[in-house]
């Protein structure tokens, strides 16, 4: 792992091919650091734990099998239909 030391207001530039990502150290407060990002819009920036949670949920979603779904299908439509009646 590369370790760099930076002061508030200083930046780090990451270059990947012809794309550049700039990380700006904005503020430090009680062990937490605020970082600003400047990157091409097609580069998505996530908090790691949130990204990992999305990955986990997406993978868990694949365990759902069609047959199990056929069994539970009544749960949602029933309520929806009842709501339709309420609205009409």
């Amino acid at each position: 792992m590369l370790i760099l030391s930076r002061k508030i207001g200083q930046s780090i530039v990451i270059q990947a091919g012809n794309r550049k990502i700039k990380l700006i150290m904005l503020e430090q407060d009680n062990g937490s650091i605020k970082i600003g990002f400047e990157a091409p819009k097609e580069i998505k920036i996530y908090r790691e734990e949130v990204y990992e949670e999305i990955v986990k949920q997406n993978k868990a979603a694949l365990e759902s099998d069609v047959n199990r779904l056929r069994k539970i299908k009544t749960t949602i439509p029933k309520l929806v239909k009842r709501d339709d009646k309420q609205n009409s």
Binding site: I54, Q57, N58, V66, K71, I72
Partner: protein
């Protein structure tokens, strides 16, 4: 043009223009780019976002408004441009469900909806930056919540 694909739900014949391209993939499945939205009648209103490149991959999805009646968020401009959206109806918004053995444990991801453009047939899983929506909401609780809201609206009329 109609092409035949093998998906998790079996072999499907689809028109090329119904193919949805996820250029940036879906978190956890970044290598898969081509999907189709399958709507088998017997699982309605749960649909399947099925990969055309890996027939083990199909996500159960549904319209989040069916589960949370007041669901709403704003897309950033770079995304509406990327998806070529001119009005909200140009987009199909879907939420991924996780369906374990126990029906009571079904969850829905309201924090990271799937957005599909009907204009340029591109798709993306977008992360809403909001405390309100979480990756795992219990479906049961959400349906109860929506029922309360809808009946309160009805009483107010």
């Amino acid at each position: 043009m109609i092409k035949e694909y093998e998906t998790k739900l079996g072999s499907v014949k689809i028109e090329t223009e119904r193919t949805i391209t996820f250029e940036y993939g879906i978190p956890g499945f970044e290598d898969l780019k081509q999907f189709v939205l399958l709507e088998p009648e017997d699982t309605h209103p749960i649909m399947w976002l099925a990969s055309l490149e890996n027939n083990n991959v199909a996500f159960p999805v549904t319209f989040p408004q069916l589960i949370r009646s007041d669901y709403q968020f704003t897309l950033p401009q770079d995304l509406t441009e990327y998806l070529g959206l001119e009005k909200p109806e140009d987009a199909i918004i879907l939420s991924i469900l996780t369906i374990p053995e126990k029906e009571d444990e079904i969850t829905i991801n309201l924090a990271a909806p799937i957005i599909i453009s009907q204009k340029n047939h591109k798709g993306i899983q977008y992360l809403i930056e909001s405390e309100e929506y979480k990756i795992r909401h219990l479906l049961k609780e959400e349906l109860e919540r929506s029922k309360v809201i809808l009946s309160a609206q009805k009483d107010g009329e």
